[in-house]
C-alpha cells in the first residue's frame, strides 16, 4: 500500500543555512505520526515544505502517490492537505465565523461552507458560542481550537499540526490532545509536530525524530518512549 504522504531526501535551506538535510519518511493513511526534535531541528521547515509555504532545495514530496513538490500552497490545500501553523496565525480582527469562512475558501458553495462550519462547531461547541466574537479576544486555548477548526473546514485527508499545545495551560494541553485523537478517530491522518514529546508519542503510532535537520530515528512511538537516546534528549526524567 502506498503511504498517504511520502517525503524523499527533502532538503530545505534559508540562504546558506540548511534547516533540513536529506530527510525521508512516510505517513501511512489513517495514522498519527509525530515529528519530534530539539529546537531548530527542522520540524517546522519540514511542515512548511509539505504545505508548499517554502520551496524545498532538493527532494520530493509525494501525496497519495502524486508528486506535489514545489506546488503552490493553495493547490496543495485543494489536494487535501491542511496546515495549522505554529503560533496559530488566526486573523485576530476578524470574527470566529469569518476565520472559519476563510478556512473554507476553496469550498464550492454556501451550502458546503455551512455544512463544514457545523461540523467544526460540533467538534468545538465553544466556538459556536463565540462565533460573532473577535478572534483576537479569545483565550489561548480557544484560539488554538479555532486554528484547528479553520484547517478542518476543507475536510483534509492530511492535517499538519505545528505545536498545538504551545502556550496553553496544563488543563488545556490535555484537552487539545483529546481533540487530536478525536480528529484522528474520525478518519483524518495527522502529522504532528510537538515539543511535548511524551504526550505526542503516547497518542501517535509512529514517530520521526529529527536532529540538526537529519533523521535520527524513525519507528514505532511505543518503542521510542523507552529508547534511551530519545529519553535522554527529549523526554527528560519521567
Amino acid at each position: 500500500m502506498i503511504p498517504l504522504l511520502e517525503v524523499r531526501d527533502l532538503s530545505v535551506a534559508y540562504g546558506g543555512i540548511e534547516a533540513v538535510r536529506g530527510l525521508s519518511f512516510s505517513v501511512p493513511e489513517g495514522s498519527i505520526v509525530s515529528l519530534i526534535g530539539a529546537n531548530g531541528a527542522g520540524k517546522t521547515s519540514t511542515l512548511l515544505a509539505v504545505s508548499g509555504l517554502v520551496r524545498p532545495r532538493a527532494g520530493r514530496i509525494l501525496f497519495d502517490g502524486q508528486d506535489i513538490t514545489g506546488r503552490r500552497a493553495d493547490r496543495i490545500v485543494r489536494a487535501g492537505i491542511a496546515h495549522v501553523p505554529e503560533g496559530r496565525a488566526i486573523l485576530e480582527p476578524l470574527s470566529v465565523a469569518e476565520n472559519l469562512d476563510l478556512g473554507g475558501w476553496i469550498l464550492p458553495d454556501r451550502r458546503s461552507l455551512r455544512r463544514a462550519m457545523d461540523r467544526v462547531f460540533d467538534l468545538f461547541p465553544r466556538l459556536a458560542e463565540r462565533r460573532r466574537q473577535m478572534a483576537g479576544s479569545l483565550s489561548g486555548g480557544e484560539q488554538q481550537m479555532l486554528a484547528i477548526g479553520r484547517a478542518l473546514m476543507v475536510s483534509p485527508r492530511l492535517l499538519l499540526l505545528d505545536e498545538p499545545s504551545m502556550g496553553l495551560a496544563p488543563l488545556l494541553v490535555a484537552r487539545i490532545f483529546h481533540v487530536i485523537e478525536n480528529i484522528h478517530r474520525s478518519g483524518t491522518t495527522v502529522l504532528l509536530v510537538e515539543q511535548n514529546a511524551r504526550q505526542a508519542l503516547r497518542i501517535s503510532q509512529r514517530a520521526v525524530v529529527l536532529s540538526h535537520g537529519l533523521l535520527l530515528r524513525d519507528g514505532e512511538s511505543r518503542s521510542l518512549l523507552s529508547d534511551p537516546v530519545i529519553v535522554e534528549a527529549f523526554l527528560g526524567k519521567a
Partner: protein, 599 residues
C-alpha cells in the same frame, strides 16, 4: 585593512562606484550632475526618518525653507554661500524642532498626512510673501528679487557634502545610535523595554532629516540660480519617497541607489532617445514613463528594494564571529552590578491594588503582591487570567487604571518603559519580539543600550572610547550567548532562528540590561522537556547570582522546580499563593488550572 574591514567597506564602495558610473554616463552638463547629487542628499534625508519608522513627507517643505532662506540671505543680504548655507540650516533646524514637538506624537499615516500638510503650508507662505520670495512667479523683476545676484556653488562642493553625509550614515549604522534606530524601526515597543527613549530618537531623526533636506534645498537654489514654489510641491515629497521605495530603506545606501537610478535614468533616456529617434521627441514624457515602468518592475520583483540584493552580504558582514573555542563552560553569568541591600529591608517590588480594564473587562483587579530581592516567583493561571497584563504594567508598556507599583521604595506606575528598563526591570515577551533583521549578537548588544556610553560625536570622530565601549559590549554579549548555548547562532539573523532559540536570545537580551528584576513571560513555550529542564537550571543559576525573577509559565515542572513562591491568578484576581507544594495541593488551583487526572 583586514578582510572584515574590507567587507564593511564594500557596500559603500559599490554604491559610490555605481553613483560615479551613473554620473559619468549621464552627465552632459553640470546641471544634471548637480541634480544627481542633490537628489542623493534628499534620499538620505528620507532615510533619516524612515529608519526610525517615521513616514515623514516634510522633506519637500524643509527643502523649500533651505532653498529660499539661503537664496534670500545671499541675494538680499549679500552673504557669501559659506554664511547663507549654515544660516539656512539653522533656520531648518529651528523649524524642525518647533514642528517636531507636536507632530512626532503621531505615527504612521497620521504623521505622513500632517507632514504633507506642513510642506504645503511652507509653499503657500512662499506664494504669499512676494516681497521676500518673489511670490508665485518666482523670479520676477517687479518684486525686486534679482536672482542674477545669487552666488553659485560648485558641483564639487555638493559632492563633498554628499560624501560627508555618506560617511556619517555609514559609520552610524553599526554604532549604538544606528542600532537604536534599527531596533525602533523593527519593534518600537521592544526597543523601549531595552531602555531606548523612542521620542528622543525620533526627534533626533526628524531634525537630522530636516537639516539634510534643507542643505539639499540650499544647494538646489545656488545650483539652479532661480526658484519657483512649484519645485517644492508634494510631488517632490513623493519623488523623494520613491528613491527609498526603489532602493529599499533598510540600509542607508538603498535610497541613495534609488535616487541615482531615478535621476540618471530619465536623463540617459532623454539624451539617447531624444537625439536618435526624432519623432519620439514629441513624447516629452517618454523618459518618465519608462522610469515609472522600471519602478513598478522593481516593486513587483524586488519588494525590499535594490538594496535587498546586498542584504545577504550585509548580514554576512556583521556576524562578529565569536573567538574560536569559546563555549558556555567557565563563563559565569555576570550578576546584577549593584550592592545587595541589607536583609530585612522592604520588598524590592511591591504592587498594591493593581487594576487594569480593557473595554469593560477587568483584566486585572485589586492585585497586591510583594517580591523580595533574590527570590524566584511563579505567576500561573489559565489563559486570559491577567498574567501578561501584570507584566505589561510592571514593565511600563501600559499604565494601570488603579493601584501603585513601588520599585525599591519609589512609585513607578505610569512611568515610561525605557525609564523602567533603566531602573533595573527587564522583561521578555510571550510572543517573542526580537529584532528579526539584526544578528543574534546585535540583538543582545541592543540590550546594552543604556550602558554603552558613546554618542554620535564619538562615532563620527572614531574616538578610542567608541571602539573600546563597542568591543566591551560585544564581548559581554558573546559571553551571555555562550552561557545560553547560542554561540553557534551569534551571526544569524534573529528572525531565522527557531521559536525556542528565539526565546533564549530574548533572555540573553534582557540580561544585557544588567537588571535586578527579570520578568519572563512564558520562557519555555516552544521548548521540549529536556530544553525546559536546562532552562530551569539556568534560572536557578540566575537566582544564585542574585537576580530576582518573576516567571509566567505553563510548564509546571519548571515552575515547581525553580520557584520559591507561586501566585495564581484567575479572572484578574489572585486566587492562591504559596510554596510549590502548597499550590500543587490547592483545591481551587486544581479546579481552575492544573486539572485532576495526571497524564
Amino acid at each position: 585593512m583586514n578582510r572584515a574591514g574590507l567587507r564593511r567597506f564594500l557596500p559603500g564602495a559599490i554604491t559610490l562606484l555605481i553613483l560615479a558610473a551613473d554620473a559619468f554616463i549621464s552627465v552632459r552638463n553640470h546641471a544634471d550632475l548637480d541634480r544627481l547629487l542633490i537628489n542623493g542628499i534628499l534620499a538620505l534625508s528620507a532615510f533619516a526618518t524612515l529608519h526610525a519608522r517615521m513616514l515623514s513627507l516634510a522633506n519637500a517643505g524643509f527643502m523649500a525653507i533651505g532653498a529660499y532662506a539661503s537664496a534670500i540671505l545671499s541675494v538680499k543680504a549679500g552673504l557669501p554661500v559659506t554664511l547663507s548655507f549654515p544660516a539656512a540650516l539653522a533656520i531648518c533646524g529651528i523649524v524642525a524642532v518647533l514642528i517636531g514637538l507636536p507632530v512626532l506624537r503621531l505615527t504612521d499615516v497620521y504623521l505622513a498626512i500632517c507632514t504633507l500638510g506642513f510642506g504645503e503650508v511652507v509653499r503657500i507662505l512662499i506664494v504669499l510673501l512676494p516681497g521676500l520670495t518673489g511670490g508665485p512667479t518666482g523670479a520676477n523683476l517687479s518684486t525686486g528679487f534679482p536672482y542674477e545676484a545669487m552666488r553659485r556653488v560648485d558641483t564639487g562642493m555638493i559632492a563633498v557634502f554628499l560624501a560627508m553625509l555618506v560617511y556619517l550614515f555609514w559609520t552610524m549604522a553599526p554604532s549604538k545610535t544606528g542600532r537604536a534606530f534599527r531596533a525602533i524601526r523593527e519593534r518600537p515597543q521592544a526597543a523601549s523595554t531595552m531602555g531606548i527613549d523612542i521620542v528622543a530618537y525620533r526627534s533626533l531623526a526628524f531634525v537630522m532629516s530636516a537639516l539634510i533636506a534643507g542643505a539639499a534645498g540650499a544647494f538646489y537654489a545656488h545650483s539652479v540660480g532661480s526658484l519657483d514654489n512649484g519645485d517644492f510641491r508634494f510631488t517632490r515629497a513623493v519623488d523623494i519617497l520613491g528613491y527609498a521605495v526603489l532602493g529599499g530603506s533598510g540600509q542607508w545606501f538603498g535610497p541613495l541607489l534609488g535616487a541615482g537610478l531615478l535621476t540618471a535614468l530619465p536623463i540617459l533616456l532623454r539624451d539617447s532617445l531624444g537625439a536618435s529617434i526624432g519623432f519620439l521627441r514629441s513624447f516629452a514624457q517618454l523618459p518618465n514613463i519608462l522610469t515609472g515602468l522600471g519602478l513598478v518592475l522593481v516593486i513587483v520583483f524586488l519588494p525590499g528594494g535594490l538594496a535587498h540584493v546586498f542584504r545577504a552580504q550585509v548580514t554576512a558582514r556583521r556576524p562578529h564571529a565569536l573567538p574560536p573555542g569559546r563555549t558556555g563552560e567557565g563563563h559565569a553569568v555576570p550578576g546584577p552590578g549593584v550592592a545587595r541591600p541589607a536583609p530585612g529591608t522592604s520588598a524590592l517590588l511591591s504592587v498594591k491594588g493593581l487594576g487594569r480594564v480593557f473595554g469593560g473587562v477587568e483584566a486585572l483587579s485589586g492585585v497586591s503582591l510583594e517580591f523580595d530581592e533574590g527570590g524566584v516567583y511563579g505567576l500561573i493561571g489559565p489563559n486570559g487570567a491577567g498574567k501578561t497584563t501584570f507584566i505589561n504594567l510592571v514593565s511600563g508598556l501600559s499604565a494601570p487604571d488603579s493601584g501603585t507599583i513601588t520599585w525599591r521604595g519609589r512609585e513607578i506606575q505610569g512611568h515610561r518603559a525605557h525609564e523602567i528598563a533603566r531602573a533595573g526591570i527587564a522583561r521578555t515577551f510571550q510572543g517573542v519580539r526580537l529584532f528579526d533583521e539584526m544578528s543574534v549578537l546585535e540583538n543582545v548588544v541592543v540590550g546594552h543600550h543604556s550602558r554603552v556610553h558613546t554618542n554620535l560625536a564619538s562615532t563620527w570622530l572614531r574616538l578610542p572610547r567608541e571602539t573600546r565601549e563597542e568591543k566591551a559590549a560585544m564581548n559581554e554579549a558573546a559571553v551571555l550567548l555562550a552561557r545560553l548555548g547560542l554561540s553557534d547562532l551569534a551571526g544569524r539573523p534573529a528572525g531565522a532562528l527557531s521559536y525556542g532559540d528565539q526565546r533564549r536570545v530574548e533572555i540573553a537580551r534582557a540580561l544585557a540590561l544588567d537588571p535586578r528584576l527579570l520578568l519572563l513571560d512564558e520562557p519555555a513555550a516552544g521548548m521540549n522537556d529536556a530544553e525546559t529542564a536546562s532552562l530551569g537550571s539556568f534560572l536557578l543559576e540566575l537566582k544564585r547570582r542574585g537576580y530576582t525573577l518573576i516567571v509566567v509559565e505553563h510548564h509546571m515542572d519548571l515552575i515547581m522546580g525553580v520557584c520559591d513562591r507561586i501566585d495564581v491568578l484567575n479572572f484578574g484576581r489572585l486566587i492562591a499563593q504559596g510554596t510549590p507544594a502548597e499550590i500543587a495541593g490547592n483545591e481551587q488551583v486544581l479546579e481552575a488550572y492544573l486539572g485532576r487526572e495526571e497524564g
